[in-house]
Amino acid sequence: MKISYYPGCTLKTKAKDLDVTARLCAKALGVEMEEIENWQCCGAVYPMATDEIATKLSAVRALDHAKHNGGKLLTLCSACHNVIKRTNEDMKTNDDIRFRANNYLQLDEPYGGEAEVLHYLEMLKTVVGFDNIKKAVVNPVKRKIGAYYGCLLLRPSGVMAFDNPENPTIIEDFIRAIGGTPVIYPFRNECCGAYVSLKNSDLPKQKSKKVLMSAKEKGAEEIITACPLCLYNLQVNGEGTLPVKYFTELLAEALGVQV
């Protein structure tokens, strides 16, 4: 099966590991990720102001492409997923934004939120199935692993509809499927400090350390994430408290996929 895929700029540069392992694993599981043509950076943060239109157009273009190419848009970076999913909701439900975006783009047919945005984890769960992943595992990851959700996959839950925002389970289910033991810790859905290091370098340091200490106290041996910025903040500010990896790196290890 083929799915239209939006990689995003960070996965082409500093987060290549996330992109490469994800593609190889998907292939091993029977899913072909087809990178959409001429995609542009989504802007990394969803513009909340209701009069922001231009900053949403790259997401709309990607969504419209997916609408005509299978109907689904696969995302991997948590930030891209958040921006694109929230923009899609605007195009579905906000008449003013839909009108103004379409008025600018002048597509052959106006875009109205028809595409379905699917995160790679959701694809693993609903398209492949965790049971099938379990069957495909040749090298179970027999470690205690802490899932780090952060914010962007979960919130705002009314729009993201990803998982229970206070007690999510999808990454823990994923960890079980690849043979690991999930470690539940209180800070797994707390923010790591995000992008504020340019204005307040202390805040990401404190927040990231809290996340890692919380996971370590509960017995985690490593942390997995789907967000390049989470990975960076936890690695750089956590001062080696615990190893931090992309969830797809562990999937590749479990499936015996050579990178």
Binding site: M48, D51, P156, C191, S197, L198, L229, Q235, V236
Partner: protein
């Protein structure tokens, strides 16, 4: 611009109805940047209800909000304090000369590992 025009604009672009706030303080209770904020999330909401534009536009908290949406998630009245913070920040940075990040701030923080995502996010949030 008059005060009334600022109040109207911030209300409109925030897309949230601050009059629904019942002052429970749950948003601030959940905010991970609380300690670093001169004006707390619930105060952004109540100052906008009061129309105290000066206090809002002078706030330094707009640079510390993480857009983590925890306040939005917890509000029992469906108010979005994060959207008020963003509407105030946008109103500030849309004024000439008010960009929060200067080009010369960047090189000292760039290391081998810094993801594009961080710089793109910061530019989108802090600059126009």
């Amino acid at each position: 611009m008059t005060k009334e025009e600022y109040v109207e604009t911030i209300n409109r672009i925030s897309g949230t109805d601050v009059r629904k706030c019942m002052k429970c303080g749950k948003c601030s209770g959940r905010c991970p940047a609380f300690k670093d904020m001169d004006i707390k999330p619930h105060q952004f909401v109540s100052l906008l209800v009061k129309g105290d534009v000066d206090a809002l536009l002078e706030s330094k908290a707009i640079w510390h909000c993480l857009s983590c949406m925890a306040c939005v998630e917890r509000c029992p009245r469906g108010v979005a304090p994060a959207a008020v913070v963003e509407a105030v920040r946008d109103t500030v940075v849309r004024m000439q000369g008010n960009n929060g990040v200067k080009a010369e701030d960047i090189p000292p923080v760039v290391d081998e590992l810094i993801p594009q995502q961080l710089l793109v996010s910061a530019y989108r949030k802090y600059n126009k």
